[in-house]
Amino acid sequence: MSMVKSPSGVRTAARVVNATKLYGRADSAVRALDNVSVEFQGAAFTAIMGPSGSGKSTLLHCLAGLDTLTEGQVLIGDTDVSRLNDADLTLLRRNRLGFIFQSYNLVPTLTAEENIVLPLRLGGRKADPQWLAQVVTAVGLADRLHHTPAELSGGQQQRVAAARALISRPEIVFADEPTGALDSRSSADLLRFLRHAVDEYGQTIVMVTHDAVAAGYADRVLFLRDGRVVDEMTEPTADRILDAMKGLGE
């Protein structure tokens, strides 16, 4: 599957500059990120791959303002995330970012619809009904809106999460192994929706995954090892990705 990048108006949606992240005390520190510099283009679907422990989640969390770098900078648009305090970070996440986690994405007391519009409601805003209908239809949940998460399958739950990530039309959606707990059919549903969002609405998506097939939906794949970006691929296919992964020793 190959997709052509948007030819014009390419902008940088996010950037990390000389990012280093150390865990633990100085003498026995783990270098989760080691002087990483990378850019994420707008309206593009980027996948991050690498062996376990290579720093994928760390990179994503730092990008999303959920964690802070030891050194270096994270920029979302023109905003230097490392300079924001907790309140500003919260507003940044609420208004400008979207999230899909591997599991436990939804608030169990709220219905699917309430979960989807949660970021807006937290900001005291109402969902644009047209946009809501569009997103809901795209994830194929129109008939499930009034169910609680406990009444939805794992795949449906992840699609609700995806819809929530898109509802505020964020600058970037971050996804950490969103298909990790799904079977291949549910995975394909979710990934098609993400691809659709990039193509149709110009959504920017950064996704961490272990799955070559999932990464095949992306426009570009970054390979991490030992906290460093060691390879990069555009117009990826599952086969090429698998080859590259072998080269990384996984």
């Binding site: 609420r94 436990y104 608030v107 169990p108 900001g123």
Partner: protein, 845 residues
């Protein structure tokens, strides 16, 4: 297994402490009251042992019965008996003594009235050894009729020193002036349990107390080598009938017993509060352990899967309960000691001065503290622990969040039955007078029924109460979370229900009492003025007051009333002495049969209800046992309905009263104005005439109502403080539940924070949840309290509640405050919730 439990507990110190606190306060009440009782008793034992030191045997009138209320008023007898006793072989010394009423006035002329303790006069004993612990601190004994020795407590507080003039009032008349010549102490103590004591030359005392040539006790010391018992029986042989000889050991143990009897009411009240707070605490323990067991169901299942037996699971949960109980008991014991110390201080502030003794911590108290603390905790944790053993090993593989189980049919049926039955009982109690049993059983059944049904009621209640805040995102979340686990919310709220229902119920009873006082006074009173002692602690005021009023021209009618204790059908009760000629002009007694005039010197007017109950009719024989005069055969002279103004079901004439009691103090005097004189005029005249009686309060009926209401309010204030503690414990329960819920929802909170919920919003959601839980408790407590209050007010008609007044504003304010206190309860859990580490929360698992 226990090691594991302990480790787990230590890791959660804050929670352990919070859980323990709910039981701690109850334990503190228990230990506080026991320690105080022991301390006071020890102090009095010491004091009386000291006072009777040097005396081997005492001689006094035989009392037909002894009771706390009769102590200190032995019947006087001929002083010549002392000469006979001196002649008995083995007697080294014998001296009479006499005690009575004397009210000292301070330097500004105000009566020195201690709260709850008597104001005494006594004759000075010249034999210093017989005087025992009574010792001169300053100056000398009285040597002239105008000289007096006063107790060191009064001297210290009022600044009297030898040489000062002092005014003193007696049973019969007005003020007399004396000179202080000495200050006396009682061993270490400055006074006798707060009593004031004025000591005169013996002959002066006899004259002042109206007992010329009489003593009420003779103290005897034996020659060395003779046993008190032997001496006692030798003396007994020469005594005239009606007198008895007792060893000083008996005297001091009787005195100590009367003190501890008087204190026992205090202890009982305290233990009542302890029971309430322990009940509240047990709900919190039960709830906490239920939550813990649910949260750990995975852990338990895992343990079961790897081979742990049911008993081991049960043991591990109960072991945790034991540790919580031990911590609670230990803390409670400490707090209880502090409470006892504080209460002793409080008692001395209100005038009940206690002789000093260090706080007595007996082994019995320690055992009781731990038995109560550990016992309640373990019992409350039993059901949750049992539930833990029911966790199937397969649960380890399922999702941790077990869906909230519905309420069982059995529970619904029993709860429903109890509730309906209880409400029926309350309604019955509300619709007829004096259904105390129906009210009590109804209240209990309603409460327990409600407790069982509460989990079902929680969802709709939270939905309705939370409707106004559902529009805001945090309010809506708080509302959802409060209804999330109905059982948890229900039991948390129930703890609050108990305290609030009691507060509201007592408020209703109190307002009914107040309303009744008004009605009663209006209905029963015909007098223009009512004279009572200015201090509620005084036993009455001198009869000279009535004599003086009779000489005031504006006064038309003066009717005195006296009070005494007697035994009727074996029960100790109050008997009122009234003036048959005037009392019905000043009060509506509602005489139904017979007449006041028929009282004579052997008649009793009996309250109609009592007469019906006992099957008495005019002319029926009516035996009464008086402490001093023994058995007397009286007869029923009539029946009357309205006892509200006389305050007793049994009325005798003043002549009968005076023949059987030696006291001459009036409890009240009712005054009517002469024709053509207004109430205001007669009041001014009475005031002017009674300037030398500062201990008498003159009020018209409006003022009387007000002073009575004030005293209800005072009592109410004290009860509120105690019950508010129960409410506070319940709020601690809200803190505990919320803290555990927040812990349970770490992931969810992290997720919410990740998608853009601010810390402020998180705190606000937790706060709303707390307020809603508290509001459920407040609403149910308010409803129950109003029903209880109305039912009990009605059923207490026999003690003079004639009007049931259900106040709305006060209870509503209580309920709203309780609900808003949820905000305070939420502070700690909300802060915790806001601090959730987002990354940890979203990454775990």
């Amino acid at each position: 297994m226990f090691g594991l439990t302990l480790k787990g507990l230590l890791a959660r110190k804050v929670r352990l402490l919070l859980t323990a606190v709910s039981v701690m306060l109850g334990v503190a009440f228990v230990t506080g009251s026991l320690v105080l009782t022991d301390t006071v008793n020890a102090a009095f034992d010491q004091l009386y042992a000291g006072l009777t030191k040097g005396t081997d045997v005492s001689v006094r009138s035989k009392a037909a019965f002894t009771d706390t209320a009769t102590m200190g008023s032995p019947k006087p007898f001929d002083a010549k008996v002392v000469d006979q006793i001196r002649k008995v072989d083995g007697v080294a010394a014998a001296e009479g003594s006499l005690t009575g009423f004397a009210l000292m006035l301070d330097k500004s002329g105000k009566p020195i009235q201690p709260g709850g303790a008597p104001t005494l006069a006594a004759g000075f004993q010249t034999d210093r050894e017989l005087a025992g612990g009574f010792s001169m601190r300053k100056g000398r004994g009285p040597e002239a009729p105008t000289e007096v020795v006063i107790d060191a407590g009064t001297a210290r507080k009022q600044g009297f020193t030898p040489g000062d003039p002092i005014k003193i009032m007696f049973e019969t008349g007005g003020q007399r002036q004396f000179t202080v010549v000495g200050i006396a102490g009682f061993g270490e103590a400055d006074n006798l349990a707060g009593a004031t004591l004025a000591t005169f030359q013996m002959s002066t005392a006899q004259e002042l107390l109206g007992r010329s040539g009489q003593f009420d006790t003779i103290d005897v010391r034996g020659k060395t080598g003779i046993k008190p018992d032997e001496l006692r029986s030798r003396i007994a042989r020469v005594l005239p009938t009606g007198l008895e000889a007792v060893t000083s050991e008996t005297v001091s143990s009787e005195a100590s017993k009367s003190v501890s009897d008087a204190l026992s009411i205090f202890t009982k009240i305290f233990l009542g509060f302890a029971a309430v707070s322990l009940l509240v605490g047990s709900f919190i323990i039960w709830n906490t352990f239920s939550i813990l067991v649910t949260q750990r169901s995975r852990e338990h299942a895992l343990l079961r899967a790897i081979g742990a037996g049911r008993r081991q699971i049960l043991g591990s949960v109960l072991a945790e309960a034991v540790v919580v109980g031990l911590v609670a008991s230990g803390l409670g014991l400490g707090v209880g000691l502090a409470v006892a110390g504080g209460l002793r201080g409080l008692m001395s502030v209100i005038g009940m001065e206690l002789p000093s003794a260090s706080l007595q911590l007996h082994l019995r108290t320690v055992v009781a503290a731990f038995a109560v603390g550990v016992g309640i905790t373990v019992v409350a944790a039993l059901a949750p622990a049992w539930k833990a053993t029911r966790t199937p090993p397969i649960a380890a593989l399922r999702d941790a969040a077990t869906p909230a189980k519905g309420v069982s049919r059995w529970r619904l049926a029993v709860g429903g039955l109890l509730f309906v039955g209880g409400v029926a009982g309350l309604i019955r109690a509300m619709s007829a007078d004096s259904q105390v049993a129906a009210a009590g059983a109804g209240a209990l059944a309603t409460f327990f029924g409600l407790t069982m049904l509460a989990p079902v009621a929680v969802r709709p209640l939270v939905r309705v109460l939370g409707a106004p805040i559902a529009g805001s995102v945090t309010g809506g979340m708080g509302r959802l979370n409060a209804a999330r686990s109905p059982r948890r919310t229900a039991s948390t709220a129930t703890a609050l229900v108990i305290g609030l229902a009691l507060v509201v119920g007592i408020t209703v009873v109190a307002s009914s009492v107040k309303a009744s006082v008004g009605d009663v006074v209006d209905r029963a009173n015909k007098a223009d003025l009512i004279l009572k002692s200015a201090s509620q602690f005084a036993p009455g005021f001198p009869s000279g007051v009535a004599d003086k009023l009779r000489r005031v021209p504006e006064v038309g009618t003066v009717s005195e009333m006296r009070f005494g204790v007697a035994q009727i059908d074996g029960a100790t009760t109050y008997v009122a002495g009234v003036d048959p000629a005037t009392v019905d002009r000043m009060a509506n007694l509602g005489v139904e049969s017979g007449s006041l005039a028929a009282l004579g010197t052997d008649g009793v007017l009996v309250n109609t209800d009592v007469a019906t109950l006992k099957g008495l009719r005019v002319g029926s024989p009516f035996p009464v046992k008086f402490a001093q005069s023994g058995d007397r055969k009286l007869r029923v002279a009539g029946t009357f309905t309205d006892k509200t103004l006389v305050g007793s079901s049994y009325l005798v004439s003043l002549d009968t009263y005076n023949a059987n009691f030696s006291e001459r103090l009036d409890i009240a005097v009712l005054v009517g104005a002469r024709k053509g004189v207004t109430t205001e005029q007669v009041k001014q005249a009475a005031k002017a005439a009674l300037t030398e009686y500062p201990n008498v309060a003159i009020s018209d009926s409006a003022e009387l109502k007000k002073t009575q209401n004030d005293s209800v309010d005072q009592l109410l204030g004290m009860v509120y403080v105690m019950l508010l503690l129960a409410v506070v414990i319940a709020l601690l329960g809200v803190v505990n539940t919320l803290a555990l819920s927040v812990l349970e929802r770490t992931r969810e909170l992290g997720l919410l924070r990740a998608v853009g919920m601010t810390r402020t919003q998180v705190r606000s959601a937790v706060r709303w949840e707390a307020v809603l839980i508290a509001a459920v408790g407040a609403l149910l407590g308010l409803g129950l309290g109003l029903a209880f209050g109305a039912a009990f007010s009605r059923s207490l008609a026999s003690i003079g509640i004639v009007t049931v007044a259900v106040p709305i504003v006060q209870p509503l304010v209580c309920a709203v405050i309780a609900a808003l206190a949820g905000v305070v309860a939420a502070i700690f859990p909300a802060r915790r919730a806001a601090k959730v580490d987002i990354l940890r929360a979203v990454v775990t698992e």
